[in-house]
Amino acid sequence: MADTAFEVHAASVRLGAREVLSSVSLALPAGQLCALLGPNGAGKTTLLRLLAGLLSPAAGDVRLFGEPVHGMTGAERARRIAYVPQHVPAGLPLTVAEFVMLGRIPHLGPFSRPKPADRAAVGEVLEQCELQAMADKRLDALSGGERQRAAIARALAQQAPVLLLDEPTNHLDLRQQYRLQRLLQRLAAAGHTIVEVLHDLTLAANHASCLALMDGGQLVACGSAVSVLDAPRLSRVYGWPLAVGCGEAGWQLASAAASNY
């Protein structure tokens, strides 16, 4: 058993009167790529935000390497956990390099200028995300895939050991989706703990080493692909007949409903 990064113990989250996460307990391994799965409204994003310390649990607790996430100050959290939201807002007047430099803020004082170490960190993550050639381009001039990579580079520049991503493959074409998952795998291999919310089950099954399946604000299953991806269970959770295959080309998950319903 690998080291545990996140330990969630009986955590509940309320938004107004609604309980969007009820008594979720799970452990996510360190240094691996984990995927949060489930239908719309299952509570994936809520769980991700809870892990990021952006939400406070109404009950239970969340620990990162044994330390309660909610006991940390904002700056402490920022040095440990980097978070990539679903969208990069449009209309930012920044170049890619300037945008990525925002990730260095947890390491900078309010008036201190970026030091050579900060520039080196930015250069390094730009290279990691294959964005060196675009460093001086305006963010608005990038394609969807490049923007997503820039968002990840911004988070990586934080040099936090944990990286959380909310549906990073949204709006990306097939090739970009695979390239992004490869990048996340490389980062995990380099020691990062990565948790991403994903909708594409096949993509998750073939790239993540740990899957957490959620439904209705509760955890249904958590573990390796083999233990989580059970066809009857998935069909029940998604309310749609699903077929699960695992062969030469890796996992294949698809609708099992007759095409002419």
Binding site: R77, P85, P89, E98, P106, P114, R119, G123
Partner: protein
């Protein structure tokens, strides 16, 4: 945070940043001279020993520079606070709140030194009210700007009500002041208002990096360790100080705060600190140019500078909006 990782070995053309700075530097040297020389509809070499120049021209130039810088800097900060490039102190209620407080003070007949204080208080109250209301209605970003418009309109209605109920003398002085006028500043008021504006500018520069994060969205900002509520409050205080100083000096001058920062953002871009600083510089010169134009265009009539700025505003607004829509469609 001007960061260039890949710098071409041979540079064929100067960067937009260098060109903008050169243009602003040239304007800084020439515009005040032009403003001093253009008197009585003709150009004459300025005579600094002339008491008329000392009493009228110089304070007016300093007023124009202060007001322009303060409005443009608050605009650059408010655009980050509202996460909307159309935000302008005149549009989102900061100026209207300040103006309402000043009109109240004028109606009550208090002294001129209390004007900057009232303007700051009014601007701050209006901006805080907008933030509180938008949290209450949970309207997201659109709700934030909408609440700004609502608060601005409400302050405008209150101003009309007060003017309606006040006597002729107050009405005339308040109306003249509201239209945006740079000629009325005296020495001590100029110093007090400029100090308020400078304090606001410094506060905005101090939190500029957090404003950059705010532009990424609330979650992203918090994940970077930014205290979002504190940043919003401080931005409101800074913008209210700068806008309050400007409003107390010269009344409500619209569009400067929207136009100048957007122009700077399009031309050179960059982090908020750079935008605020360059906007302040460019805004000061823009308003001085507008005022010189207002003074000489239909001499001997002294047009309100707000009028000239307002004429330039709407076409710019349309251009900016069209540009944004285009980038949304293309993106």
């Amino acid at each position: 945070m001007a960061l260039t990782l890949v710098r071409p070995a041979t540079r064929a053309r100067p960067t937009p940043m260098a060109m903008l700075c050169a243009a602003l530097a040239a304007a800084t040297l020439l515009l005040p001279l032009l403003a001093l020389s253009s008197q009585g509809g003709s150009l004459a070499w300025p005579d600094l020993a002339d008491p008329l120049t000392q009493a009228l021209r110089v304070p007016r130039i300093l007023t124009a520079l202060t007001v322009g810088a303060a409005l443009a800097a608050s605009g650059a900060a408010l655009q980050a606070l509202f996460r909307n490039p159309l935000a302008d102190p005149g549009l989102v209620g900061t100026s209207s709140g300040a103006a309402l407080a000043v009109v109240c003070v004028l109606a009550l007949g208090a002294g001129s030194l209390s004007l900057p204080l009232a303007a700051f208080g009014g601007g701050l109250a209006a901006t805080w009210l907008i933030l509180a209301l938008s949290r209450l209605v949970r309207g997201g970003l659109a709700g934030l700007l909408l609440m700004g418009l609502v608060v601005g309109a409400f302050c405008g209605a209150l101003i009309s009500l007060i003017l309606f109920m006040s006597d002729d003398l107050t009405l005339r002085s308040a109306s003249a002041w509201l239209a945006g006028n740079l000629a009325s500043a005296t020495g001590e008021r100029l110093v007090a208002c400029a100090a308020a504006a400078l304090a606001g500018l410094l506060l905005l520069l101090w939190i500029a990096r957090d404003l950059d994060c705010l532009l990424l969205g609330e979650d992203a900002a918090r994940s970077l360790g930014v205290d979002v509520r504190r940043t919003r409050r401080l931005a409101a205080v800074g913008a209210a100080l700068a806008t309050g100083g400007a409003v107390a000096l010269s009344g409500v001058i619209g569009f400067v705060g929207m136009m100048v920062p957007n122009l700077v953002a399009v031309l050179v871009g960059g982090c908020r600190r750079r935008l605020i600083l360059l906007s302040a510089w460019a805004g000061a010169l823009f308003l001085l140019a507008a005022d010189t134009l207002a003074r000489t265009l239909v001499w001997p009539v002294d047009l309100p500078v707000g009028l000239v700025a307002a004429f330039a505003g709407p076409p710019f607004f349309v251009w900016l909006f069209a540009r944004q829509q285009r980038s949304l469609i293309d993106g």
